[in-house]
Symmetry: C2
Subunit: 338 residues, 2 copies
């Protein structure tokens, strides 16, 4: 409970209206008065009362949401988090404009960005492509329209903040788990979604880096792509193990896990050690069956909740987060702490 604008007005010897104009930089205030009010506000640590603000702000806030969630169960929890944060601001009238999409098509995402240009703010899982960055920068135009990148970040873009996975650390964590579980002695097949996806590459980098430095006796037998697809995953994994029967461990750093795991289990001579990412229904099942030993989760609910909260706090109360990089924890899940 800080000082109120009314008390501030008394202290400054002006009316509440003038205080409002001064502190919200609406102009039309004599410079000397402006300065006096700002000084007093600082001195008495004036913070506008949110309840008063909520009561008077009756225009609805339109938020654009662009996510590649179709066919991707990972986003179910993200969406729950987004809705939960919105519910925390039920005193305000907030409208979410959903644009859900499958896959990564630059042209389609450009069109969606066009659609949300008139909104007050945006949350997006961007494709890391120069055209997307340019279009976003055009909409942002000096923070008038804040954009939060969610789960994927983008280069050369004036986005307000990134909320999502620290992919490099995720890979490191997986690498260490793999080293611990195999006693530093394994021939590992790494299965990535696509060598074109930045996050997947960063995970691989972190994974391989830790194994090299902390578990130098391990070997990477190969790195294969599965395009996040189960059938493709089964085929490629089976082929790789057929070509190198010494493989006794696998790291999946993206989707298409189930197909690959079953292929590996049936092909390997002895039960392989398998580490994956995320905690989808499919992976939970594999963990319960004992086929996957551990997975590195990235708090999807937290990602949704936090991205929405950061955006609304800025739009409603001009709150700027301490850092523009907000990383989810990389949580290790095993059978008993799912």
């Amino acid at each position: 409970m800080s000082i109120t604008s009314k008390q501030l007005a008394e202290l400054a010897g002006v009316s509440r209206g003038t205080v409002d104009r001064a502190l919200n930089h609406r102009g039309g205030v004599r410079p000397s008065v402006q300065q006096r009010i700002e000084e007093l506000a600082r001195k008495y640590n004036y913070r506008p009362n949110r309840a008063g603000k909520a009561l008077v702000m009756r225009d609805t806030l339109n938020i654009g949401i662009i996510i590649n969630s179709v066919g991707n169960p990972f986003f179910d929890e993200v969406k729950r988090g987004l809705e939960a944060a919105k519910a925390d601001y039920s005193d305000f009238s907030i409208n979410l404009n959903w644009h859900e999409e499958k896959g990564y098509d630059v042209e389609r995402q450009l069109k969606q960005i066009e659609d949300i240009s008139e909104m007050s703010g945006t949350i997006i899982t961007p494709i890391n492509h120069p055209d997307i960055a340019e279009r976003l920068n055009h909409i942002i135009q000096g923070k008038k329209h804040p954009v939060i990148t969610l789960n994927n970040d983008i280069n050369n873009c004036a986005r307000f903040a990134y909320v999502g996975c620290n992919y490099f650390q995720s890979g490191q964590t997986a690498g260490q788990i793999m080293g611990l579980l195999t006693n530093g002695n394994a021939r590992i097949l790494a299965v990535t979604g696509s060598k074109k996806v930045l996050g997947h590459n960063q995970r691989l980098e972190g994974f391989i880096g830790v194994l090299k430095s902390d578990y130098p006796k391990t070997r990477i037998a190969g790195i294969i792509e599965n395009n996040d697809d189960d059938d493709r995953s089964a085929y490629e994994v089976a082929r790789a193990i057929a070509g190198d029967s010494s493989i006794d461990a696998l790291y999946f750093c993206a989707g298409g896990v189930t197909g690959g795991v079953y292929a590996a289990v049936s092909q390997c001579r002895k039960k392989p050690v398998i580490v994956t990412c995320d905690l989808t229904e499919g992976i939970q099942k594999l963990i319960r069956e004992g086929l996957v030993q551990a997975t590195v989760d990235q708090q999807p609910y937290w990602q949704g909740y936090t991205s929405m909260k950061v955006l609304l706090d800025y739009l409603l109360f001009h709150v700027v987060p301490e850092s523009d990089l907000m990383y989810a924890r990389n949580e290790i899940r095993v059978k008993y702490n799912i």
Copy 2:
């Protein structure tokens, strides 16, 4: 944004005052009118506007906090969480009455409970003792004064909710990690704080249960107490290993970790596998040094934040949580995801 009390008054053909009296059960409303208003409120899903409420509720809320935090670094994060939740309700005037204590003295805690009897609500890490339960029940008197148990629960007490660790699951998780790290082959020394503390016993139960069912080749070499004390821990661990040189793994399910770990490392013939609980500064250091392989954290910040939020949501908005048991996640931390 739901319907307002004013609109409700119009629909019911009465004044706002009557609606307020009816919905808040202040009495003095004709039964037929009371019923009509309640029906309309349900039909139109009336939810009082929190901002309006905040603006008018100007009496300060006194919250009692009784925690055994002195000399226990685990509670630093808990306290940060408590403060953070309070800050989320900055529109209200809230006063925290701290009672911090060292150790578990029933008489002292009884006195502290007396001190907070006049407050609006309480958050406490109770000693699980009949006298404490009775004194708390006396203060609670039919939910007029809600009490949240934090980190420790208590039997036969009408506390409003428990926010804290699921100790049994914590032990299970540690057991599984131990099994995975030792390939199901280890002679384990279990170090507990006290066999009188319920949480410690539940952790041991979970730990031993998982090892028995999932890793039957492991053996528990012994269970010793260290009273959460480093010196005692060093002495007892050294003695146990001197008496059984086959010990090659340790599980610490409470405090006094640092002393015990150094003793174990210097006594064991080869480097032991060590799993601990929590993520204090001391344990972080041990993990970085590679002496502790993994620890099972219990989200202390979340515990503080959630307990305060649940209490305030009830006192201010009559929000009742879905369950009266709110468990922290048992998170596995290793060197790279600290």
